[in-house]
Subunit: 291 residues, 6 copies
Amino acid sequence: MALPEPNGPDANAAAAVQELMGGKFGEMSTLMNYTFQSFNFRGREKLRPYFDLISNIAAEEYSHIELVSATINLLLSGVTKRSDRNTSKNPKASPLDAAKDARNSYHYLASGQGSLAMDSMGNPWTGANVFSSGNLKLDLLHNFFLECGARANKIRVYEMVSDPCARAMVGFLLVRGGVHIVAYARALEKLTGADVGKLLPIPDVCNRKFPEAAIHEKKGIHRIMYRWSPDDYSQLDQVWNGKHPEDGGDLIVSDETPEGAPWPEFDEEPQLSSPGGIDPDMLKHYAKILK
Amino acid sequence: MALPEPNGPDANAAAAVQELMGGKFGEMSTLMNYTFQSFNFRGREKLRPYFDLISNIAAEEYSHIELVSATINLLLSGVTKRSDRNTSKNPKASPLDAAKDARNSYHYLASGQGSLAMDSMGNPWTGANVFSSGNLKLDLLHNFFLECGARANKIRVYEMVSDPCARAMVGFLLVRGGVHIVAYARALEKLTGADVGKLLPIPDVCNRKFPEAAIHEKKGIHRIMYRWSPDDYSQLDQVWNGKHPEDGGDLIVSDETPEGAPWPEFDEEPQLSSPGGIDPDMLKHYAKILK
Amino acid sequence: MALPEPNGPDANAAAAVQELMGGKFGEMSTLMNYTFQSFNFRGREKLRPYFDLISNIAAEEYSHIELVSATINLLLSGVTKRSDRNTSKNPKASPLDAAKDARNSYHYLASGQGSLAMDSMGNPWTGANVFSSGNLKLDLLHNFFLECGARANKIRVYEMVSDPCARAMVGFLLVRGGVHIVAYARALEKLTGADVGKLLPIPDVCNRKFPEAAIHEKKGIHRIMYRWSPDDYSQLDQVWNGKHPEDGGDLIVSDETPEGAPWPEFDEEPQLSSPGGIDPDMLKHYAKILK
Amino acid sequence: MALPEPNGPDANAAAAVQELMGGKFGEMSTLMNYTFQSFNFRGREKLRPYFDLISNIAAEEYSHIELVSATINLLLSGVTKRSDRNTSKNPKASPLDAAKDARNSYHYLASGQGSLAMDSMGNPWTGANVFSSGNLKLDLLHNFFLECGARANKIRVYEMVSDPCARAMVGFLLVRGGVHIVAYARALEKLTGADVGKLLPIPDVCNRKFPEAAIHEKKGIHRIMYRWSPDDYSQLDQVWNGKHPEDGGDLIVSDETPEGAPWPEFDEEPQLSSPGGIDPDMLKHYAKILK
Amino acid sequence: MALPEPNGPDANAAAAVQELMGGKFGEMSTLMNYTFQSFNFRGREKLRPYFDLISNIAAEEYSHIELVSATINLLLSGVTKRSDRNTSKNPKASPLDAAKDARNSYHYLASGQGSLAMDSMGNPWTGANVFSSGNLKLDLLHNFFLECGARANKIRVYEMVSDPCARAMVGFLLVRGGVHIVAYARALEKLTGADVGKLLPIPDVCNRKFPEAAIHEKKGIHRIMYRWSPDDYSQLDQVWNGKHPEDGGDLIVSDETPEGAPWPEFDEEPQLSSPGGIDPDMLKHYAKILK
Amino acid sequence: MALPEPNGPDANAAAAVQELMGGKFGEMSTLMNYTFQSFNFRGREKLRPYFDLISNIAAEEYSHIELVSATINLLLSGVTKRSDRNTSKNPKASPLDAAKDARNSYHYLASGQGSLAMDSMGNPWTGANVFSSGNLKLDLLHNFFLECGARANKIRVYEMVSDPCARAMVGFLLVRGGVHIVAYARALEKLTGADVGKLLPIPDVCNRKFPEAAIHEKKGIHRIMYRWSPDDYSQLDQVWNGKHPEDGGDLIVSDETPEGAPWPEFDEEPQLSSPGGIDPDMLKHYAKILK
């Protein structure tokens, strides 16, 4: 998904979006939960469709941390005044002035105005967020809850940040996260017969109420499970089938994965020496003599 | 790389190997450091070879957390007595007896004898382990140090655990981690002209002293940088070229990635309800009525 | 105690009050310290009055976390704009705007504008705050210090927040916490003969200087130990007797506990789906069919 | 419930049982989750039965941390050699010898062989374990998951520790926790119509397989919701009604709460100065002169 | 070094400066890393010059935490309104008003407007920041990286805070920290022959670009290693010799340590009872009777 | 104080002693508490004797972390089998075997069998242990409690570890810590007139019951306050005067500080590459060419 340019730099919006990266319900949590559950799966052959489902969703989550990171970086680009002390004429300049009152000081001290593995309060993501009990039903229930909690966080960040870049990202993740919610619901249903899908939506607002999500739902993206490794995850469709619990459309496994968007370029921030004043001639020089 | 079977279950060996997963210098740290640095790279076009290098190494690290996880799971398999309370005749049985004195109780309480995102003392991995300053030279120096620290930990786990499964894993990672050490040394050299490679090896023992690493070095694997995405990382060879600082052999970029090994099967541990006593007939029943 | 309505919503006042909930010296700490010390008491029969004292104070602390929570919730009510995306006509609305710059983002992301088990910086309360050494004199000394530290925090929150709801809560807790300070001083005196009460007040300001505390002291509430379980804590008066060290009035054990105040109603915050748009007809429907 | 005497002191059993106290799924978590959700409930009048349910369960949890604490304390009593340095003739004695190799050193250094607010690895309980989103459906789903996770932990501690005192405690908590699982399932069903109860049991073993739980189920205790404050929680029966999902028996609200068991006495551990060598004559002396 | 008076109180500047105290790369980290490495040095006699170097730098770091603390305290002095509730006529006063919106509430709740062992986000310094592997080359590499990371943080705080007191402190520490960077580079060079100094400066700005650092470099202070204990650290000059890698000047060991500056007086903050309203007559009274 | 050689290596004794280093009541806590309180002192001139007392005790604490570290290092020396993979003939050797079952794996993975900034469970020391409220009476009360808590921990480590090296260290620290307890008691007495010393000893065992403490008390060391900086701390004797509360002897300020003991040599542990196999000829070579 291609992210639109933000309306402008917004330090505290970037701080808020960090919740979707390194919060308890952020994308690092979904990524790492499914990764460990996939690694640790016992009795895989007997329960192959479930292994395939969890592993396949893990694979998709990687692109989600990427997307959240790009959003944060775009919102942070230009927050402080671009200037280079190596060439500046003003020794009294304090180009990071604006950072002093920003909510998250790590963005300026520990990174070059970039995303970090932390939440909206600057607390680091922790491995304690990974749940991998080894009991399939319990792990699936956890995942269903985790995705609903993640959905609540996404909606709240959406309501907090009006920037179009952030909202485009949230809109897309609401739809893809929605697929995962339904997937774990289906998995529990297939295991037990309980109609878990009737609990949805949690919280009590439909994705269609968010314009940036609605455009994807119109294309049916909320009903598609992309198969990220067609050779490996062949039994996905034993879980991902039937009707979508909210709109009744068909659930589809697709071997075509969505085309990637170009990764945005992030401008230099020389006041942070990011990436640093590297002399191209020197680079060429060393490239030659060291090759 | 295919892991040999362990000599037998070994609870405290598994606990020690967790350091290579979730320790400050574990594979989660290398994976996440390079991932965030890749995401946050500013001024990418000017410094493409460095971006490619960091991103490409990030891609390889994913397979390393997988390998460490598999080792832990194999060492934990069978640590406690397999039995199923649903069918057991002995209500007084305490099949997890052996877990009571094991160093890491989370392996039995929080997981089904599986790996978790924690270190050898059961402390969770933390996002505070991610360093992504945005200054290229500083990030590269960090990475060089991180890989050397990781190497020290690998060697110490090797000297602590004699099990062949664990040692095969460590031997392989010493070689691949060694590639990353040299890569970051090269990158620093290309940026500045300093002969960082002369610092190696850190610590002061060669990989060749470890038989399980030596077999890979004999095949030259310590001189090969695999390109995990040939379309994306085309400028790798502007950094990864010249001679290996320890043995003087040629540094090679390879577009052929190594063949994956079959992922080991992990037996059920019914005393932990892992994966749980799911009735195949019921599964079929629900599969039919819910499709 | 009945809380007055706040003058209006105040996000950062609520953030400050969290220190009295989940700070190192917050009410969760006093509650849990005395609870564990009561649970762990060894040699209870020999030292019954001390057991009774600690247990009885633990019982009172529960109502204190309740009161702090209510204050936080009242201050947070209405901080962001009430609106419901399900019925809103404005897809561009960002009702949580005001939350973006608030000091504590968890109030909006992790809760529905409600209190959490954290302090004024959003750091979670931790069990490491519990001290229960098992040595009675040391535990009592700890408790005396803990209550004085808690008093300092209350006074500082009072000086930081002028809202009448917050100040009414602090005023009341200064008085009740003052009872606990004197109680632990008395207990140490009874054990050793040292005149610990001469250290008071810590810090060096009397409760009477705070109008919202003075109104309770005028009623003598600072000299009353309520017995929360008359059957159990019969030997309270062997410690709680004699004169108050600051005003010389009689210390009294009372079997009548104070009348509870009505628990305030907290209005819905639909922009947070809190509690969520639940359809009363549906509730009735399911109530009927499921009964 | 009256706890039987343990077969003898067992340091590592006590360490394991700590998971049920201060683990992520321990009783402190259930207690504090429901307490905060009850405090923070918005729109209470509209949704009274749900408020009553959560608040009432919170009230019961307090007795559960008490029970887990008592079990730990009993298992720790006598772990190290009882002796008193004040009267000992042997200056070379090291009565805490046995503690040096015990898994959890805090039991001997930070407490007087008593329970602390930590888990089986000695990590402190944290307020980050509290989930209180303010969205009713999401909070109920969380609670349902939390109780299932707690059940998994109880079963695993049961399988790890064969001591009859520990197993009696776990057996009882399996039954009462089972009531809470069903209660949250019912609440979700009443809100949405989904038949959540069909997911049970999670994990896939019935309480009846554990003799110490079976004795309580035979008395029907798994179908009784005790009303801990008859005046307050009058609408409990609008959720807790109908049939138990596992055995089909009637769900009953009872205004009679179970008779409490006598709280066990914990012997002194003089080698830890717990409670300390207090001279009864001195106590009397100070009691007289200070009254 | 004598600190100039700040231009005025600045709460958020003080919060930012905390990163240099208790951040991962703050002065507590440098102090404690070298202290532990010095304590733990194995094979000291063989490698005396390196032991002397690390120990001597540890000794200097103590004065650095002192300097950072003084800066924070000066910036915090007067942030809130000075007043004394004991003598105030206005019961409605809320003198800490200004603290409610400050980024770091601990400065007002946990301290009397003073420095604490925490970073710019209020997260406490942790012993996990100490690296002491016991392998000399690895420890030196770590220290070289740590000092470069610390330098990046200092520069960023400089660019964020224009106050002359803060900048004077940072300027001085850039120079002294620069000495440590070169020292660890030299130590690695002496051990291996690698020309590590060619990597400098990291980040890519010279100290001379900062006027408050340039004044010290003009005096050659960046080339002087003070010997803090002439009797103990006699072999310092075996590492600290040769030319400075950036300006080619001679590296000098000096047995004269710089003259200390008078420690600034910090005014009372009576609104925080800091230090508290102590009556001088009472002090004299007790001094007399207790002597 | 000169430490005797341990009876032999003892991994778990070293793990226990870590509590006295990095535990909540360890020497890092006492050092850092008094250091920050000294740094942050407001109104120093008015209250000079108290400033001098706190600062002077801070100075002494540095030698205490040194002593605890040396004890840990001595106990760890030789725990695992000394061998050097560079010269070993046995590729199957696992010299760290003994470390696999040791309680604290960080001693072998993160350090070269050396002390770290952590407690007996391997949890890192944290800046949250620093209390510096700025209110003098409260800080002194805290310090009095902290020292009593530290005393309890020392006694318990003594009773846990019979090794003469550990006991010599504890015996000495009991005496010096005892001086600090009395000092803070005196300070509170001078401020308020309360006879705090009557609370002692806490816990209820005298230092004289520990032979390794008794030898120091016989020399009167428990009554001497060493003045670590005679020029600075000139008013110490306004607090430290009168009679010792336990034995009635005179309290003395001494300008002669105790003679330091030789710092023990710690042997190399080549199996950990600690300090690493550095070639002396190479060192000489680089020393020559780089000078």
